[in-house]
Subunit: 231 residues, 4 copies
């Protein structure tokens, strides 16, 4: 069942330690098969170097019920599902506690777009959610986490800024597939790191970059007029 | 004598350089056999890559006297012993000068709980001890270090916050066994690092996170209602 | 055609990940053959570990037209060309988003000369360009980027300070050949990093170093009276 | 001639990149044979991985004249010689531009003793020299650098604080032999790094640690009452 997707999701999970995005088991990747409405996700608390495609857990998008797999799915599964439900174009979701992105989340600040590295991949600042309310935390916490993310993107295109910082927690990143979401997580970590350094160098909080330059770089890589890379 | 524990403690010591927690010989791990009241600890000043289980030193919990071993035990042995005496549940103790945790200790500040990464492993801020008094330093220094740590935890559960920063010195970490204490040291280093970055990003000292969120994450991983990982 | 130069440029591109200057494909190196007026440059968006000399693209200095190669040249080609046109002595150009240099660029600050490490390779502060105007960004963006760099060096010797930070973007570095430009990029990154730390340590923006010391170190390595290294 | 010392000095030089203390050829180590009054030092500008014992240059302590070797000695040779002349106990000298120590030098600040990591190896703050005067820079620069270092230690024991930061330049470190001086350089880099972090965490410049604690740790490892390590 979904053997190809399981392999993709397994490989994407194993990219997390390779790219230095995780300590121990602090991260999980999922991918979705839109046709069947099934999501493949990492099992909870399993080490990456022991992970095999057949360990992946298959859950139903609709209600999160486990369809296949003997292990428990990631404890963050319900957050992933909320994201898949909110935006049809999402094909893969990543959650990590990557060091620099998480540090911004802990400061309850979004990551301002300060340069073309950011603009090449994110069409604007990466937002930070509002703090979660006590009743959300004490309720269906993981699903509520997803809902707060979706609320943060009200009126925005989730695919143009495919990442968020959950306040006091860390980043969630999504893309058209699992591997692309991991690569975007690497970019997020890099821009989070450089934004910290830039503000230290400036000795103050920096304003967003010129939106004309932001557009230029984003559109150089995305959309019909893109001209970066090979055709 | 205690061959299995010696092997465990030796292996745990060798994890220190693997996880980047030590420079040269700046760290030591011990483990206890509660039944016999014997503690196994790294010999003083020996390089990790030369360390063999038979080099481990066995000392008596009661009085620190060496029961077995031809090498001198770690110079910090008496601090380890005080911790074992103060809390029955401690099975392993780690001391390092790991970079970020030590930097907080040198600033004489505890590490505030700023996010869920912290809350997943520590049920509150990791405290910093008061500065040691001159007579403590000039007396039984290592034992006094242990006593100041224990004093810092008066009225608190040492197993819920299994780490401390000794002011102007560095971290001591404990857990149910030696390997777990090393892993907790890795987490401590990571949260110390991110807390530094978060405060830099915020441009100010940050308050503790919402205690409801702290509880949620701590209890997601600890206690009877834990639901992280596999059963 | 230009086989030797293609090999040099290919190898120089592959030095970028080796020296930790790039994430993914975020950097490009070119080299010029002054006699034929042809520039050899990395193809756009290709991974370094797949790069072969025959993938290099050959473009005409005069107008940027592709003379040889089946892949599209780097999207930054026109910036490289402006630099080659502005200074006859330039033999190689490097563009990266290296972390620390880019962080200064994002803060819209040049890198002050704070010590002899800087002075050994740069005869003064590495400047940051003015922000680009909207009409420049929306016009021939990459060529305009090159022109703004050249404008920044009006009245200065580009070979004595062979690097610039493009505001809100990142560094361009040049030298007598491609490999030397990569090595200079490593130095730039290192001095960018140390300047950030030095200002953090000082708790304030630091003034330029004593120009007599700057001259001493620069001239110890450059010009007729140089006495560093082997004859 | 001095084959054993040449091998030691060669090996010590090769430790510099291994410990991450140097970029390219930015560092040099020497050792002295007090009996013959000869100093063995790295040749100038040669890569570490090509370095062979027979490449080492032998110079006379008295006047710096080359006694053996076909390559030119390190351009910093005269600084090394001044240190050997100033203190009979010095057996090896290291100069690097290691990142964190150099950052303090560029801020023209010595490294305060903030914790026991520092105290274990340095019996007090590591001082920064006064800025060099223009006539010193334009005169016998390298010898003058050595003289300014010696001036900085007037009335102090160079072996108890075996390192200095040359203002706007970087660290010089010495010890009883070349390998020990390299190891001390690693410690210096580590305490330089942690002191930067500690002050960032404190949000201010930190005062020196309690001198009683400083003495305790220094004397735990040095002198007749030392009890760290094996006998």
């Amino acid at each position: 069942m979904l053997e190809k997707l399981k392999e993709e999701v397994c490989r994407a999970n194993c990219m997390l330690p390779k790219y230095g995005l995780v300590t121990f088991t602090w991260g999980n990747v999922s991918g979705i098969d839109r046709k069947s409405g099934l999501v493949v996700i990492k099992p909870s608390g399993v080490e990456y170097d022991e992970l095999k495609p057949e360990d992946m857990v298959v859950v139903r998008l609709e209600d999160g019920s486990v369809v296949e797999g003997t292990l428990r799915p990631s404890s963050d599964t319900d957050t992933h599902l909320e994201l898949y439900r909110a935006c049809e174009e999402i094909g893969g979701v990543v959650h990590t506690h990557s060091r620099y992105a998480t540090s911004w989340a802990q400061a309850n600040r979004g990551i301002p777009a300060l340069g073309t590295t950011h603009a090449d991949d994110f069409h604007g600042a990466v937002p930070c959610t509002r703090p979660m309310k006590n009743e959300e935390i004490q309720g269906s916490y993981e699903a509520e986490t997803g809902r707060v993310i979706v609320e943060t993107f009200a009126g925005k295109d989730m695919m143009e800024i495919p990442a968020v910082l959950v306040a006091s927690h860390g980043p969630f990143v999504w893309e058209r597939n699992a591997a692309a979401a991991v690569k975007k997580s690497v970019v997020l970590e890099e821009v989070a790191r450089m934004a910290l350094y830039s503000e230290t160098i400036a000795g103050k909080k920096l304003p967003e970059m010129n939106p004309v330059l932001l557009d230029k770089h984003y559109l150089r890589k995305h959309g019909e007029d893109a001209y970066y890379g090979q055709k």
